[in-house]
């Protein structure tokens, strides 16, 4: 059976339901969002003239859910405009809409009876091939489906999103006993390819995989903290970045999630897993109970394990809970020798820092050992109870809990045998399957062989090959397979098959430097000769944060204007080389694509952005202007597609260029790829890869598609407004200055931007070449570099990471 989800229905418009609906629209799927009818008409409603028949009243919960996600931070929508793709209604009047959808996902309150009653109604209206899922995080699928007819059971499964659904990669899929395998296969594919999620297939067990292992992890950390009499900030310093956790560590994360949520999840678990060997750890601790009573639930109640206040001088101060006295005391940054030692190794990766932590000789080492060993044993004991193999558990913790390494990867980092020795000393019960594994001479959970990655399978008692997903291009693997074509310290060119090469940047934050530019030229030469196309992208968090401003500052301080001029000219030329290469170049920006990064992303034949792309020309923040062709290319973008003759006929370009001016002068950065399109940095005709995993593959397909009939673009003539544009921007800037929205120097820098966008000294309606604009960019950049206040801005950015308003 061929399934295809084009339209979906989300039942339940709470935070989770509404944000799931928002993410579906991000993937281009129209939704209906339904919820219950309010319980009763209030006096306020009556005063507004509402009756029990008013749709405004009947649909209120769904409408409020939608309004909430429109305002939510972080944003659930790629762009607020997506809200129009969601139709709101209620369970009584609008269930009929479900007949028109391909997927129904239930996200109502965690109450079995309510869910069963709702599904009984749903069953009557959905098409027989409609896929129906629940987003439950704890209720077994077999209980929910108990009264279903056979047809619905075949099309029913659990799809458990993690909050917030747009940003969390993990999506747990829980097939029921009768779920058809092709439905599971389709949903897996759909959620990966269309929604951009990472899928873990779970068994139908309490809390599935992520929250089972995650609850243990947190309970384990809390118990150790109390048992070892650690302060809250001490525990977070230990079980923090050095162990591959986020900066918020354990207690900061609990405050963010909410203690009530954590408490609810673990007490549910306690009741649901009577046979779990570690069950007692899920019983809410005395401390958690006390905090629940006091309603110290974390950030939402403004206090939890931490509390932010201001001291006598009005300076922000962070307090933490002293759980003995239940009072808040100042939190610090506790130092542990082992943590400091681990940090020194941070360049070697998180596996190295975890190893240092595990072997530490102080209390931090002691805690790490006990904490990790408990986690390891618990995770090992859960296979195959909660999922088939170790991969699911590792992925769930990485994708759903933001751990950099899953428990088995962490265990490998330390050494399986080394950890077992420690477990023995701690008198912990070592799982038989681990002893078996070591006896067989299998010393790691994962093993890299020539033909790919293998993992240890407890059931097969041996290594099993991890079947690679052909849609996931892994550059490190390709390098290992001799596919590296050329490399320097800043970038590499890799053969990604079928005649396509990938230009990968790998400087710190992918800042643009000489090496990178050199590789662009080299890559273009090679691709032009030997390949059909090129993808520019990487697995790094950020596509590129732009120019290395430290180098710019050094050149300024040396007074070496030749270097500065070369720097600008090289980036311009490299970008123009990519743009006019005879083979198609496809850029694949993701994460930050700022300044020079934005410019590079724009100078490709096509762009295949990741949904989470934060793109913009931010140069004015450091007192300069986009000079790598950014102004020029934005001018091309905002004026391309105009029919011939309209400029001669007097087309008013004022609003078009004002938009470009505002983008650059206000250093606007998109909060998604779609916003990047709205700003004009990505063409609206491009496609978006929702997830990172398949982005390079997607980009490669675009390159291959283009390669069949590719002709490099013809040179562009850009229509400009000339001096008239400057008159207009001067008048606007005066108002902004008077209104204190801009400083004198902001105005100065903005006038340089205006000069470039005006096209120079020419009349309105003149057509100029790209080279003319590039020359204006260069001139403006160099002149600003000579200004003290620009230098101050650069210095400030280097010192603080924040822009200076001077």
């Amino acid at each position: 059976m061929a399934y295809e989800i084009k339209k979906a229905a989300v039942l339940g418009a709470g935070v989770m339901g509404a944000t799931i609906a928002a993410h579906l629209t991000n993937a281009g799927i129209e939704c209906v969002l339904l919820d219950i009818i309010p319980f009763e008409l209030t006096e306020a409603d009556k005063a507004q003239g509402l009756t029990e028949k008013s749709p405004a009243w009947r649909n209120r919960f769904a409408a409020n859910g939608l309004a909430g996600v429109v305002k939510s931070k972080p944003a659930g929508f790629f762009t607020k405009k997506n809200a129009s793709m969601i139709k709101t209604g209620n369970f009584e009047d609008n269930l009929g809409w479900l007949a028109g959808v391909d997927w129904v996902i239930e996200v109502v309150i965690e109450n079995l009876k309510i869910k069963q009653e709702l599904f009984a109604k749903v069953e009557k209206v959905v098409r027989p091939d409609c896929i129906v899922t629940t987003n439950t995080s704890g209720i077994p699928i077999k209980d929910i489906t108990a009264k279903f007819g056979p047809k619905l059971k075949e099309h029913f499964l659990g799809t458990h999103f993690f909050n917030p659904p747009r940003y969390m990669k993990l999506l747990e899929i829980i097939p029921g006993q009768q779920t058809k395998p092709d439905v599971v296969a389709y949903m897996t594919r759909f959620c990966e390819q269309v929604l951009g999620k990472g899928i873990v297939i779970c068994k139908d067990v309490p809390n599935f995989v992520g929250n089972r292992i995650g609850s243990f992890d947190i309970s384990n950390a809390i118990r150790l903290t109390v048992d070892k009499n650690l302060k809250i900030d001490e525990a977070d310093a230990i079980i923090g970045k050095a162990l591959g956790r986020t900066g918020m560590a354990i207690f900061g994360t609990l405050d963010l999630v909410g203690l009530d949520t954590a408490h609810h999840v673990s007490s549910n678990l306690y009741a649901a897993v009577p046979d779990d060997e570690m069950r007692e750890i899920f019983a809410p601790s005395e401390l958690m109970n006390k905090m629940m009573e006091l309603k110290w639930l974390g950030n939402k109640t403004k206090q939890g394990f931490y509390k932010k206040t201001k001291d006598a001088k009005g300076k922000k101060a962070k307090l933490m809970l002293d759980y003995h006295t239940m009072e808040y005391v100042p939190a610090g940054k506790p130092k542990f020798a082992t943590v400091s030692d681990a940090k020194k190794k941070s360049d070697d990766g998180v596996a190295a820092t975890i190893k240092v932590m595990f072997n530490g000789t102080d209390i931090a080492g002691e805690i790490t050992r006990e904490y990790l060993c408990n986690n390891f044993i618990y995770a090992a004991n859960r296979v195959p109870e909660i999922c088939d193999n170790i991969i699911g558990i590792d992925n769930a913790m990485k994708w759903g809990y933001n751990h950099q390494l899953g428990p088995f990867e962490t265990w490998d980092a330390i050494g399986v045998r080394e950890a077992v020795e420690v477990m023995k000393k701690l008198k912990l019960k070592i799982p038989k399957k681990i002893e078996e594994m070591l006896k067989k001479g299998c010393e790691t959970f994962y093993e890299k062989k020539e033909d790919g990655l293998y993992f240890y399978d407890f059931e097969k008692k041996g290594y099993v090959k991890l079947e690679p997903n052909p849609r996931i291009i892994l550059l490190p693997d390709l390098k290992a397979q001799n596919k590296l074509i050329r490399k320097n310290g800043s970038a590499s060119l890799i053969d990604i098959g079928d005649g396509v090469a990938c230009l990968e940047f790998h400087t710190k934050m992918n800042a643009v430097d000489d090496g990178m530019i050199e590789m662009i030229f080299a890559a273009c030469d090679i691709v032009e000769k030997d390949f059909v196309g090129m993808v520019v992208g990487s697995h790094a968090t950020n596509f590129s944060v732009g120019a290395n401003i430290f180098k710019v500052l050094l050149a300024i301080q040396k007074g070496d204007w030749d270097i500065l001029e070369t720097l600008v000219a090289d980036l311009q030329n490299a970008n123009m080389r990519m743009k006019y290469l005879s083979k198609p170049v496809v850029s694949a920006p993701a994460g930050l694509a700022l300044g020079g990064g934005c410019e590079m992303a724009m100078h490709a034949a096509k762009c295949q952005p990741c949904g989470e792309t934060y793109i913009g020309l931010v140069e004015v923040g450091v007192g300069v202007i986009p000079a790598g062709g950014g102004c020029k290319e934005l001018m091309v973008r905002v004026t391309e597609g105009l029919p011939d003759g309209v400029i001669d006929a007097g087309l008013n370009l004022q609003h078009v260029y004002t938009k470009a001016f505002e983008n650059i002068a206000m250093a606007k950065v998109s909060t998604s790829a779609v916003e990047g399109m709205e700003l004009g940095y990505i063409r609206k005709t491009e496609n978006i890869s929702l997830g990172r995993d398949q982005q390079l593959w997607d980009a490669k397909q675009v390159a291959l598609g283009l390669a069949k009939f590719y002709r490099k673009p013809r040179p562009v003539m850009i229509p400009v407004m000339g001096e008239n544009f400057r008159g207009m921007t001067d008048a606007i800037l005066y108002n902004m200055r008077q209104g204190n929205f801009a400083s004198d120097y902001d105005v100065h820098v903005s006038r340089k931007v205006a000069h470039i966008l005006s096209g120079g000294d020419c009349a309105e309606g003149t057509l100029v070449t790209e080279e003319e604009i590039l020359a204006l960019e260069k001139e403006a950049f160099l002149s600003l570099c000579g200004e003290k206040k620009t230098q101050d801005r650069i210095m400030h950015m280097l010192n603080t990471g924040k822009p200076l308003r001077n």
Binding site: G727, D730, Q738, F741
Partner: protein, 398 residues
């Protein structure tokens, strides 16, 4: 020489910017309907007797372009022998057109004229749709900034002359209260020509349709309002500024016209004159503080007439912003008259809206009908003007 008299002064209701009752109707259409309504009120006048039409407009371009005056005259059904012109003195255009018509009739160059103003801010943005300040202009203070944003000028007036936020908010609140009361009492009914306005709609079946609806009441009034709520608003013009949406005029659509003729013509066709524009003056001031214009124009016109503020029964001083209106009132020394209800007695542009080039004529219609209700003698309409000017006219009832 013959004196020029005003036979009738009428206006459309003010329609709120973009969401109001006139937003779907073209400006020329509003102007045409008001002019037709005006002519219908004076059946004794033969259309071919109308010699010339003057339409004031602040942004005479796009649908307001192509010589708006002639477009509206022809659209209103006046014969081809009736001429038409468009004039622009920004916010005072509507008052200026009445002054120019008066002068022309007095000079003996015309016998019967229609003058007023028409502006659709919903369609033509402030600054016009093609904003082209001179690239040669110096924006460093060495030249008056004739292009300055009006909000900035309001902030400047508030800051330079210590007009407090509280006073401005109170002024805005009172404007809305008065407008609300006036509408409730039906005071505007006589001066308003209801407009058969267009509304664009999407039907349930997705079809787009244009509907006609009668629009007969100013729709910008915000009442009830609360000072506490107003106090929370932020200035959109200046960071940390004090001028807010609650103390600024609204952007509005509207048209207003007067019928003027020689005294003799009125007598000949047997119509009773309503009033005359006796005196008119303009005065220049700093562009960056353009709102202070009335503080110069009112004394100037009074001096010209040999009158004092006491001789004036009712004032209509345009509320571009509470800051400039209050400042001008204080400088002229008539704050007691504000409190007594002799200045903007039925609310001002903060509540009823400010359709730029129309407003001078709109306030004329409001003033003359208020004087008529009060059976009073003299009134002043005064405007501040972008670029740094003020205008004031003294009307006398006949």
């Amino acid at each position: 020489m013959s004196d020029a008299v005003i036979i009738e002064a009428v206006r459309s209701p003010g329609g709120r910017y973009k969401r109001g009752g006139l937003a779907g109707t073209r400006g020329d259409e509003i102007g045409i309907q008001v002019m037709k309504g005006l002519l219908a009120r004076v059946p004794a006048l033969k259309p071919e007797d109308v010699d010339d039409v003057i339409v004031g407009c602040s942004f005479p371009e796009a649908e307001q372009g192509m010589n708006y005056g002639r477009v509206i005259a022809m659209g209103a059904g006046l014969p081809i022998t009736t001429s038409g012109m468009t004039i622009n003195r920004f916010c005072s255009s509507g008052l200026q057109s009445i002054a120019d018509a008066t002068a022309k009739i007095r000079a003996g160059w015309s016998e019967v004229m229609i003058a007023g103003g028409c502006e659709t801010m919903s369609h033509i943005p402030m600054g016009g749709s093609i904003f082209r300040p001179s690239p040669e202009w110096a924006f460093d203070g060495t030249m008056p900034n004739v292009y300055v944003d009006m909000g900035i000028t309001a902030e400047n007036v508030a800051a330079n002359y210590n007009i407090s936020r509280e006073d401005m908010d109170k002024f805005g609140l009172e404007s809305n209260r008065r407008a609300y009361e006036a509408i409730k009492a039906g005071k505007f009914k006589e001066e308003i020509i209801p407009i058969s306005a267009y509304k664009y709609k999407v039907l349930q079946n997705g079809k787009r349709v244009r509907e006609k609806v009668v629009f007969d009441t100013d729709d910008g009034v915000r009442w009830p309002s609360k000072l506490e709520v107003m106090a929370k608003l932020k200035s959109p013009f200046k960071q940390g500024g004090t001028v807010t949406a609650a103390s600024s005029s609204q952007m509005t659509d509207g048209a207003a016209f007067c019928l003027l003729m020689t005294v003799e013509k009125a007598k000949a066709i047997g119509v009773k004159p309503l009033a005359r524009l006796a005196y008119f003056a303009v005065a220049g001031c700093k562009a960056e503080e353009m709102g202070v214009g009335p503080a110069y124009a009112i004394p100037k016109v009074l001096k010209m007439a040999g009158l004092t503020t006491k001789d004036i029964d009712v004032y209509e001083i345009n509320e571009a912003f509470a800051s400039q209106a209050l400042y001008s009132i204080r400088v002229v020394g008539i704050e007691d008259r504000l409190n007594a209800g002799d200045i903007n007695p039925n609310g001002g542009a903060i509540a009823l809206g400010h359709p730029l080039g129309c407003t001078g004529a709109k306030l004329t219609a409001q003033l003359l009908h208020e004087l008529k209700r009060r059976k009073a003698k003299r009134g002043i309409v005064s405007m501040c003007i972008g670029g740094g000017m003020g205008a004031a006219g003294i009307y006398e009832m006949l």
